[in-house]
């Protein structure tokens, strides 16, 4: 092969692969390759476990919830918004799995960001969400947890340590697996 052919191949193959990958990824994001602010794909994100930042959240029913109240329980912190399609997609799943863990030391907390109170109430009613949810009006919880898009979930173990982070909607099986893992990790 001549020098020219070699260089041609060395440039063309990676470029073609990259363009192909980008096109494929764009096709995957149905409805146009967009989706800024909305996480569409499931995925565990590797994080360094660390103590969860405390916060207080005014719930939709007017009560105030602080994270410290939930010490001793496995907490699923779910960042969502009523206008976000993937959040809607998984809302029923979350509500269902939450029901399964009734009576166990597990709590779900929905943190609604970039949203309006009345839309949040309508959403919660529509999907039968029974776990505590509230609007993070100041956006401070989202900033503290470094939320980049929604839905995004943080799993906090019974000692108040953030163990897992998931981006995008989760299936019921996945939820059960992670919750089970955290429950078994620190049984009391």
């Amino acid at each position: 092969m001549s020098q020219r052919t070699l260089i041609l191949l060395a440039v063309a193959l990676p470029v073609a692969a990259l363009l192909g990958l980008l096109a494929w990824a764009s096709v995957q994001q149905k409805g146009g390759p967009a989706g800024a602010g909305i996480n569409r794909k499931f995925g565990g994100v590797r994080i360094q476990p660390g103590p969860a930042r405390d916060f207080s959240l005014t719930l939709l029913d007017g009560r105030t919830l602080t994270l410290t109240e939930l010490q001793g329980k496995v907490v699923l912190l779910d960042f969502w918004a009523s206008w976000c399609p993937p959040c809607r997609e998984e809302a029923a799943t979350l509500a269902e799995v939450y029901g399964e863990y009734a009576g166990q030391p597990v709590e779900f907390v929905g943190v609604d960001i970039w949203d309006r109170q009345e839309d949040a109430l309508a959403f919660v009613e529509q999907y039968g969400v029974t776990y505590p949810s509230g609007v993070d009006v100041k956006g401070s919880i989202a900033i503290d947890y470094g939320v980049k898009g929604i839905p995004e979930k943080f799993f906090i173990d019974r000692d108040g340590v953030v163990r897992r982070k998931f981006v995008g909607p989760m299936s019921a099986d996945n939820l059960r697996a992670v919750l089970g893992e955290l429950l078994n990790a620190s049984p009391r």
Binding site: A34, G43, V45, S56, W114, V137
Partner: protein, 673 residues
């Protein structure tokens, strides 16, 4: 008002299409009048686009909410000064902005083009107009900023509060301008290849516009870091976010290019390599734009949902395939005159620098597409985070700093080991001294020690390179030290401008090392009157004042900073919440000194004036921000036009080892590099 803008936008699209077709047809059919008329059209374009730009600005100022874009990005409450920011806050306006600056720079580049490239200028014009036509067509057809709303809303949605920061006045425009400016050197390269003038005709114009794009991107990146540091309240300045990376990668490729183009200018080597580099830089810039406007990787920077992704992906494909296609077509013409004389030479050190820079760019590219690759092969999206970049890019960057210290000491063509040893003596001694001093002071971080040692090496080698020729010149001419140095530097601006930029890079390295390895952090809950300690500081939290505005509530805290019970400063970090936008932003209060920054940011305001504060001590970060102006100054010095009367390349008649030791000699005074 808006109608005028819309009309101007369509006219400019027609003009740029005309200039594109006119240049190509005129060149193919050998019709000079057609070529000339196309050239004139390119000069008219910035004026027409200025009309479009001004009419959008006018719509913002007059609060014309019948224009959808104005309604979406401003409101009655928005101070008028933010019009500048609102202008490019969304896809539509930012595309118009890009078209405007590209048209202006293209006209300037074509007007100032040196005589050497005149023959191939029509092809360059065609390439530039192809890029401009793309942006204008997308703006006019798919993202028209002048689109009207059927009903005029009483008020607009307002501006994204995160953008209301002085950094936002410069960071996005500098980056957008820098990215699109890469089209100019690329077009000169393409023009010279199509026109068959593949010796070094385009090297001067390519270097100048490469430097312009480079300095704009550098400013954009630094300002972005500064913005993140002061407003996002995370206490860091670089996050390896996909879009940050997207702007960093073309900058890295450009950094390689502005070095290796010097080799082509002086030694007629690296002809193919330079074209590859500028094509890569252009491709990476298009990749960055694609990521920014609907790319498949979520990022805090994205412009929000848009269907433009496909168009930009297509453009990315065209923008990579066409320049490389032309390159392979002209491959046989691009042979260099010479080969490397020795691996121990200035040329070889530039080549090494290029390879390191491209490696960093590649590592970064791999990190940004890795989530997609993992999704493809494992079905699970794994985001690559900071540790990957730090571990892989960290050593590469240190190697680059090392090269920055040694490279300038090497003469062109071939270095003698003895000469090199002599010139390395002082820098190495300085480096060892700094290492020993730090070790005695108790610094045990291996990486940091290495980093600081290398910084000392570079600084010492630059000072030596300023000092030695100055002394020689002083002896020869009898001028004072200052005069001798200034005249010397002025007579060889590319080289000394480069040194200034290298010094700025050392300053940035200090900031990165200090901030990464030696920062202290504490999050505390403070009630009024309580105090906390961090490092040598004691912070006394006094109170928080709550101020209500029509669109936001500001919480301004007062914190007194003491060291050894002496009041140093009173800080006012604040936090704003925008209920309408459901957003909050913070503004850290920073007590900044060359030694360290004390960084205080409230992350939460609770009832009763209690506040959660994040306190950081970031050593040496001050130097990062000071480096910015130094980079600009150095680049300006390097760019300042040299008189053209003297031929730019000269035969090497003196022994190469002496080539850059005695710049007082007539031939060396003009040496660039």
């Amino acid at each position: 008002m808006a109608e005028m803008g819309a009309i101007a936008l369509w006219i400019s699209l027609a003009l740029s299409s005309y200039a594109l077709l006119g240049s190509v047809l005129g060149q193919v059919r050998h019709s000079p009048p057609l070529v000339e008329s196309a050239r004139r059209a390119t000069f008219l374009l910035p004026l027409v686009l200025l009309v479009a730009t001004l009419s959008l600005v006018g719509a913002f100022i007059s609060r014309d909410f019948s224009v959808a874009y104005v309604a979406r990005h401003s409101s009655l409450a928005m101070p008028k000064i933010y019009t500048w920011v609102a202008f490019y806050a969304g896809n539509e306006g930012s595309l118009l902005f890009i078209a405007m600056v590209l048209a202006a720079m293209a006209a300037l580049a074509l007007w100032l083009a040196p005589a050497k490239v005149r023959d191939t200028l029509p092809w360059t014009t065609a390439a530039l107009m192809l890029v401009l036509t793309f942006f204008l067509a997308v703006t006019a057809v798919m993202a028209n900023p002048f689109a009207q709303l059927p009903l005029v809303p009483p008020d607009g949605d307002g501006i994204n509060p995160l953008l209301t920061h002085v950094g936002m006045f410069f960071h996005p425009p500098a980056l957008m301008t820098g990215l699109v400016a890469i089209a100019i050197p690329t077009s000169f390269a393409i023009g010279s290849m199509i026109g068959g003038k593949t010796r070094d005709e385009w090297a001067d114009a390519g270097r100048v516009w490469g430097l312009v794009a480079w300095v704009l991107l550098a400013c954009g990146l630094l300002l972005g870091s500064w913005w993140a540091y002061t407003i996002l309240g995370w206490g860091g300045f670089w996050f390896w976010d996909p879009v940050e990376n997207a702007a960093l990668m073309p900058w890295l490729a450009l950094t390689a290019f502005i070095h290796s183009i010097m080799v082509q200018k002086r030694r007629s080597m690296f002809r193919m390599w330079n074209i590859v580099l500028i094509n890569v830089a252009f491709g990476l810039a298009l990749y960055g734009m694609f990521m920014n406007r609907g790319g498949p990787v979520p990022s805090v920077h994205s412009f929000g949902a848009s269907t433009l992704g496909w168009v930009f992906l297509l453009f990315l494909g065209v923008g990579v395939v066409v320049p490389f296609g032309i390159f392979f077509w002209r491959f046989p013409l691009l042979k260099s005159d010479r080969n490397l004389d020795s691996m121990l030479s200035r040329e070889a050190s530039f080549l090494m620098n290029n390879l390191l820079l491209l490696s960093i760019a590649f590592v970064t590219l791999w990190g940004t597409v890795y989530p997609l690759i993992s999704r493809l092969f494992k079905g699970q999206e794994i985001t690559v985070a900071r540790p990957y970049y730090d571990q892989v890019n960290g050593p590469l960057m240190l190697a680059l700093v090392f090269l920055m210290g040694v490279g300038p000491l090497l003469p062109w063509r071939r270095a003698s080991l003895r000469g090199l040893r002599e010139r390395l003596l002082l820098p190495v001694a300085a480096s060892v001294t700094v290492l020993a001093l730090l070790a005695v002071l108790g610094v045990r971080e291996g990486y940091a020690l290495l980093g600081f040692g290398l910084c000392a090496l570079v600084a010492a080698s630059i000072l030596q390179e300023c000092w030695r020729p100055t002394r020689v010149r002083r002896r020869a001419t009898g001028e004072g030290y200052a005069t001798a140095f200034l005249r010397l530097a002025w007579s060889n601006r590319p080289r000394y401008g480069g040194y200034l930029v290298h010094l700025a890079v050392v300053m940035m390295a200090l900031g990165v090392l200090g901030g990464s390895f030696f920062h202290l952090q504490r999050d505390v809950l403070l009630a009024p009157g309580q105090s906390t300690e961090l490092g040598n500081y004691r912070l006394l939290y006094l109170s928080t004042e709550e101020v209500q505005y029509s669109d936001r509530t500001e919480y301004v805290s007062t914190v007194e900073v003491y060291r050894n019970d002496r009041l140093l400063e009173t800080l006012h970090p604040w936090r704003v919440s925008y209920p309408a936008a459901g957003m909050a932003s913070t503004r850290a209060a920073i007590r900044s000194t060359p030694v360290e920054d004390l960084y205080v940011v409230p992350s939460e305001n609770q009832a009763g004036g209690t506040v959660v504060m994040r306190i950081l001590i970031n050593p040496l970060v001050w130097w990062m921000w000071v480096a910015g102006p130094v980079v600009v100054m150095g680049t300006l010095v390097a760019l300042w036009p040299q008189r053209q009367a003297v031929p730019s390349r000269q035969p090497l008649s003196v022994p190469p080892a002496a080539a850059s030791i005695n710049p007082a000699r007539p031939r060396d005074v003009r040496e660039a590099g």
